[in-house]
Symmetry: C2
Subunit: 323 residues, 2 copies
């Protein structure tokens, strides 16, 4: 019977499940809507049942599981905490439910850390020992890989680059601080800053793109491509502060690479060209050629890839101890 590991990425809207042989061959993948309205027990029951089906279809035996979820988690005790993007999952014993069902090692990790590990092993960060992964999306988060391992820090709180302060006299953040990187450069705040500017009645293509709907960061990126003045100015400010935030990470950690993923990173050269020009201006302690800023390569797969790495490592450890 072939042995497989499972990687599971439980997001606020989608769940991805992948089975992989120990040689790295992926033998089955499933994607489900999360359906948060159904509540955690029903959702997890669906995942458990889906894995059962996948195992039955492939005739495989499960040996370990890696799961990633949005923060906050209690990784040591295998709990999803509150407040989470997954509503009502307060102190939810997710690890125990999987252990009880399959009787194998189960590792829980937050989604940004898992994505960092995924990019480190399979993606843009492969071949490096120390990388920082930054996801620029609705919010800004990330993960730090040191010596090939996720660096957790106290309370698994490391890597919260979205809440480093880059504009102390800036905008108040949801987190309570003022001037967090997120208050300028996250998708949510790119859209907010644009709306605030358009409120003054300046003509802009964004008004047409949004029509009756809401302004989104995607529209702004589209308007930048079309050289809309408001969009270009908002985008320049975004790149400027993102470069400061990333520069501060590099000044502190001097990683071999900073890998940037998330929805905003899909702007591609529009983001990476200015970042590669600006970040060296904000980092004086490393020569520009040692500053390595790369787009993530795994897209929405990074989390499930990281979960698979965790599952594989957990199995190697169990196996090692047993042998």
């Amino acid at each position: 019977m072939i042995e497989v590991i499972a990687g599971i990425d439980i997001g606020g809207t989608k769940i991805a499940i992948a089975l992989e042989k120990l040689n790295g061959e992926r033998i089955a993948v499933r994607r489900l809507p999360t359906g948060v309205e159904n509540g955690p027990y029903s959702i997890i029951e669906t995942v458990l049942r889906t894995i059962d089906e996948m195992l039955a279809e492939t005739g495989a035996r499960l040996v370990s599981i890696g799961i990633c979820c949005p923060s906050p988690l209690d990784v040591e005790n295998g709990l999803i905490m509150s407040p989470s993007n997954l509503m009502d999952w307060e102190n939810f014993p997710i690890v125990k439910l999987f252990q009880d069902r399959f009787g194998v090692a189960v590792v829980l990790e937050n989604d940004a850390n898992a994505a960092a590990l995924g990019e480190h092993v399979y993606g843009a960060g492969s071949g490096y020992r120390n990388i920082v992964y930054v996801t620029v999306s609705t919010g800004i988060g990330g993960g730090i890989i040191i010596n090939g391992e996720i660096y957790h820090g106290v309370n698994t709180a490391a890597g919260e680059m979205g809440h480093t302060i880059v504009q102390p006299d800036g905008t108040r953040c949801n987190c309570g601080s003022v001037g967090c990187l997120e208050t300028i450069c996250s998708g949510t705040h790119i859209a907010r800053r644009t709306r605030e500017r358009l409120a003054f009645g300046e003509p802009s293509l964004i008004n047409d793109l949004a029509e009756s709907g809401e302004v989104t960061a995607e529209m702004i990126v589209e308007a930048v491509r079309q050289k809309d003045r408001v969009a270009v100015e908002i985008w320049e400010e975004t790149c400027h502060f993102l470069a400061i935030g990333i520069g501060n990470i590099i000044t502190l950690l001097a990683p071999e690479a900073v890998v940037i993923g998330g929805g905003i990173a899909s702007a591609g050269g529009l983001l990476f060209m200015p970042l590669r020009r600006l970040v060296p201006q904000f980092v004086s302690m490393l020569p520009a050629e040692k500053i390595n800023i790369m787009p993530a390569e795994l897209g929405s797969e990074s989390g499930v890839c990281g979960a698979l790495v965790l599952a594989k490592r957990a199995y190697s450890k169990t196996y090692q101890y047993a042998a």
Copy 2:
């Protein structure tokens, strides 16, 4: 014959040399003026001769050496680079000179990293796995200890917290960036900000303390103790931005402790009380009780202590490989 390791801290003004038995007992310490005007070869010859004397006096046999110096260094090739606080030490092969003379393992490390390691093993950071050491002095620097080891990063450049940007619309730094932590909170810049303010003719005790001499950070600390209004306002701003800088370190790395040393840290409660109040306001991702800000404990000994740790570890490794 007893076996000893040597720790050497070569600073811009002073050199400290310590011999320690492998059980940790310190059997000899010497302090010399650096006398930078004599040039590197003469200085190192003095250090080599002093060690010879110390070994002769104690009847000990040297088994390994740890050296710390100001940046920039090429740690891998054992070179002091330029520009350094040690003038004319360009590409100076310090490690080779010690190896040639004593025929033992020699480890080179920058002074801030060595101080971080010293505080980690012997000082305020002992008992923790992950700490950040920050030295607030003429400049601001530091070192990062992860899993009990110095974290170097690319080009040994990690831990340059003095050049993280906390006020993007602030003052230009020597390093070329704008608004580095150092441009507000280093001793040099605390004095500059004070001088700029006094230039407007505001009455202040600092004028009396400085008399005909130059305003120093020490005078400002003294004036704060005496509740001088200008000094208190300068100090409050200093603590505010230092708290943002330290907060950003904590938000990124979630270390178990941040240990603060250097001349400015000798202000004691005047610095640590506001920092402990302010930093939690700038770190939303960790509860206040997990934020641990401590004064360094080894003072000017931190570098030589770190150099001893490096020597001991180098010897253990050699011994391990030989056995």
